[in-house]
Structure formats: C-alpha cells, structure tokens
C-alpha cells in the first residue's frame, strides 16, 4: 500500500513540476521546478529497489546537469519574465501532441503484448550496485567505453575552446597590458 501511495504522490508531483517547467515564463521558476522534478524522479528508482540509480539520478541530474543550466542563467536577468516569440502555435501544438502519443505508444506496446521480461532480474544475493557493475562491464562494455571516450573528447574540446590565454591572469596584469590585450582579441562569432 505504501508503495502505491508513494508512486501516485511522486507521479503527481513530477508531472506538476515538469508542467511548471514548460508553462512558466519565469526562468527561475522553470529551473527550480525542473530540479525538483529530477529529484522526484529518483523516488521511482528508490521505490523499485534501485537505490544506486536513485542516488545517481540525484547526483547527475540535479547536482551536475541542472547546476550547469543554472550557470548559463547567470548571464541574463532572471528576475524578469521571458517573452517567447511564438510564430506558429499550431505547429507547436501538433508536434507536442505527436511526441506525447509516441512516448505513450512506446511504453504501452510491450505492456499490451505481454512481452516484458526482466533480462537481468534483481538478485537478492548481490547488491544492486554490484549488479549494475556486472552488467556494465559485460553486456554493455562497448557502449560504456564509447560513452567514456565521447566524454573525454568533449572534455578536451572544452579545454581547448576555453583555454586560450588561460596562462594570463587579469588580476595580476597591469592596467595597460589588459588594454592592449583587448585589441588583439578578435570579434566573437555570432555576437549580437
């Protein structure tokens, strides 16, 4: 009974949070609601007995991904409402409904055809962290390594893009040196 109560509670909360994220025109509401929604999703993992994934969901999505969104939001005035430019609401509506129908179909199809089997059922003898480790390093080793390589590429790319003039510290430079440095900076692509 507790699991049912917890499931419906967190399902409702998650839907409300992500609805706020989509509907609001205030950027701070959106980011707070989305962070909260991500935490509520972790509740489903805990209900299903997947403690490890639940904790990882909190750390990765709320702790890291959302925090990066928040970093991006530092650069504009978050106390003002965002005015969106809606050129064609019909297309947005049709695409939204289509996407929703597709997601429902994807998840309902295996249930309707009674075709769900747990390929790696929970083994009570080994913990769930160990079970994930075994699956990751046997069946999913190639995708796992591929993801690692892609992250490494992204990291190196990030360092190369951001690393120009990293050896110079604006704090330690003299005033005129900073001025002369500005001249040498090329205008940024995209800009205004």
């Amino acid at each position: 009974m507790f699991e049912a109560i917890a499931f419906y509670l967190f399902a409702a909360l998650t839907i409300v949070m992500f609805t706020i994220t989509v509907m609001t025109s205030q950027a701070l509401y959106a980011i707070t609601a989305m962070a909260a929604g991500m935490i509520f999703i972790s509740a489903f993992f805990f209900i299903l007995g997947a403690d490890f994934l639940g904790a990882i969901q909190i750390i990765v999505y709320t702790g890291a991904v959302m925090a990066l969104y928040a970093f991006g939001m530092m650069f504009f005035d978050t106390t003002r409402n965002v005015v969106e430019k809606r050129t064609n609401p019909q297309i947005v509506f049709v695409l939204g409904v289509l996407a929703a129908v597709m997601v429902v179909a994807i998840f309902v199809a295996p249930i309707v055809s009674n075709n769900i089997q747990a390929l790696y059922p929970i083994d009570a003898a080994i913990g769930n962290t160990q079970a994930i480790g075994m699956v990751l390093f046997t069946k999913y080793l190639v995708p796992f390594e591929l993801a690692a390589v892609m992250l490494l590429v992204a990291m190196i790319g990030g360092i190369v893009l951001a690393g120009k003039k990293m050896d110079k510290s604006l704090t330690l430079m003299a005033e005129e040196d900073i001025g002369s440095m500005d001249d040498s900076i090329e205008p940024q692509a995209g800009g205004h």
Binding site: F2, L28, A55, I58, A70
Partner: protein, 329 residues
C-alpha cells in the same frame, strides 16, 4: 511494513531534527567562544552563565525580526531558497549512522533513519543539492553582489564535488560497499584498521574538500567577507537568513560524522566506548572548522580554482589509480 517501524522512523527523524537544530544553535556559541579565546577576547559573557543563553537570545531575535521581502525579487524562489539549504542538510542525515545500535527495554534501536546500501552516495548527492540554496537565493535576490556570490559559490561547490567524489573512491574500492555501516564495520578491528592509515592522501583531500562543501574559511567565498556584505544572503533578514545558518552548521556536523565514519573508524565495535569515541572525533573535526577560521585568511577565488583543478584533482586521480594497482597485485 508494520506500525512499529513507522513510529520508530518518525521518532528518529524528530530526534535528529531536534538535536541537530539545537546543536546548530549551540555551534554558533562554540564558534564565538573558540574564536574569542584564540583572539584573546572573552566572547559572549553577559546573557546567562558564561554567555550560554546568548544562543536563546539570538534565536528569539531571529524569530521575531521582520521578514523583509525586497522589491523586484522573485518572491517564491526568494522565500524557498533558505529552506532548500536547511532541508538538504537534514535530508543528508537520513543515511548517516550516528551511533551503533543499542537495546532499550528489549527493543533494538538502529540510530540511522534509512539504512540504504548506497549510504555514502546518497549523503554526497543530497549535500550536492544544497548548492541550490545559495544559487537560487542569489539569483532571485535582484542584487548584483548576491548574484556574483551565488555564481562563485556554485562554481566552488561543483568543482569541489569532484574532489569529494574522487577522494572517496579509493577507500570505497578497498571496502567494496557504499553503505556507511559496512564502511564502519570494515574498520571494526580497532585503531590499526582505520582507513586513514592506508588512505592518508584521500583523507586529507576529503578534509580539504569538506571546507569547500560547507563554505568555511579558508574557502569562505560563499559570503566573501571582503565585500563587506553577506554574499547571497545580503537581502535576507530574520529567520530566513537564520535557515541558511542552520543549514551551514548542520552540514558541518554531518560532514564531520562522514569523515569520522569513513576514515577514522566511526563507532568501532559498537560498544558504548566506541560510540563515545565517535562523538569525540566529530567534536574534534567541528573544532577544527572553527580553528581554521581563527588561524587562516580566505584564499582568492582564482587560487581556490587553481588548487581544485591543478593540484587536488590530479592527486585524487593518481590516488585512485595507485590504489587500483595495489589492490590488483
């Protein structure tokens, strides 16, 4: 799931909340006294014996102060931000075993709210969410200084989470479990079995990162004192500001518990002596937080980032690799 379990859990939650809220208040008293003695002052002396009731006076002041919500702030976010800080600090406590289990009138009590098998991961994750308190508070404040402080504290939290995670990885590889109870039981053999002897580097790294995670001096850039304002808390008054404070102090206590359990043997074999030793260890780490505040100045933000990414992180990665090689052969 029976009724006794639910009642027991609720009772434990209430007890932990009460004890650590009170300790957070008392923590401010200890901090002022310790700082005062180190600076050859007396600290609070006038309210009650040795100024002990100063805590109550401060509490009454905070509770009865007007709750000012400035113009132009994003009201709901501004109001909820301090609650996030305090709530996440206490949520992290759910997976910390504060004491060994003991028996009262034939009923065995486990002084841990939820003994999940990913305890340490959960504690770190929830502490990581604590970042949203300063972040949202600063961004909703409609104040440039608050915003700068929020950006700075977010950068520090995210960077030092990497150090916390990597430094803990090496001890966890040795223990082979993420449960804080298992980590404690791994070191049950006494002082020679403590992880700190086999993982001294990880211990120091985690300890340094703990200062950044709780925003204490010398990494007190969350509220940069040189700006003569209170960082993200500038626009806050009364109890909302007090909640930030409670969150910070509760976090100091909980991270002290985590250091003591992971590296210094925790409550040992579970006897009363072991439990008492755990309290002593936690008290020492809490005292150390206050000690550094009296002894060290704050570092610059760029120095802090340099320390994190160019010194601590390579050491942490090396430590993990060396631990792996040693364990393999």
């Amino acid at each position: 799931m029976d009724v006794a379990f639910i009642i027991e859990t609720i009772a434990k939650i209430v007890v932990i909340l009460l004890i650590f809220s009170a300790l957070a208040g008392l923590g401010t008293y200890f901090e002022r006294k310790v700082l005062a003695f180190m600076q050859r002052r007396l600290g609070p002396m006038h309210v009650g014996p040795f100024g002990l009731l100063q805590v109550a006076a401060d509490g009454i002041k905070l509770f009865t102060k007007e709750d000012i919500i400035p113009q132009n702030v994003v009201k709901p976010i501004f109001k909820i931000a301090p609650v996030i800080t305090a709530a996440t600090a206490f949520m992290a406590a759910a997976a910390i075993p504060f004491w060994p289990q003991f028996t009262v009138m034939g009923y065995t009590v486990h002084p841990i709210v939820a003994d999940i098998n990913v305890g340490i991961l959960y504690v770190l994750g929830v502490m990581a969410i604590g970042l949203y308190g300063p972040l949202l508070g600063g961004m909703a404040s409609a104040n440039k200084w608050s915003l700068i402080s929020a950006a700075r504290s977010a950068a520090i939290f995210i960077s030092y989470e990497v150090i916390t995670g990597l430094s803990l990885l090496a001890p966890l590889m040795m223990v082979g479990s993420l449960s804080l109870v298992d980590i404690n039981n791994y070191q049950v053999g006494g002082i020679t079995h403590w992880i700190v002897w086999s993982q001294p580097v990880a211990f120091v790294l985690f300890w340094i990162a703990a200062f950044a995670e709780t925003g204490r001096t010398p990494f007190h850039l969350v509220a940069n004192d040189h700006e003569i304002i209170d960082g993200f808390g500038t626009e806050y008054s009364g109890m909302r500001w007090g909640l930030f404070f409670i969150g910070e102090y509760a976090n100091m206590f909980f991270i002290s518990f985590v250091i003591a359990i992971v590296f210094l043997g925790g409550f040992g074999d579970g006897t009363f002596a072991g439990a008492f030793q755990l309290i002593l260890k936690v008290a020492f780490f809490f005292f150390f937080f206050l000690w550094t505040r009296a002894a060290w100045p704050d570092v610059r933000p760029d120095q802090l980032m340099w320390l994190c990414w160019k010194v601590l992180m390579p050491i942490a990665v090396l430590n993990v690799v060396v631990t792996g090689i040693v364990m393999m052969f």
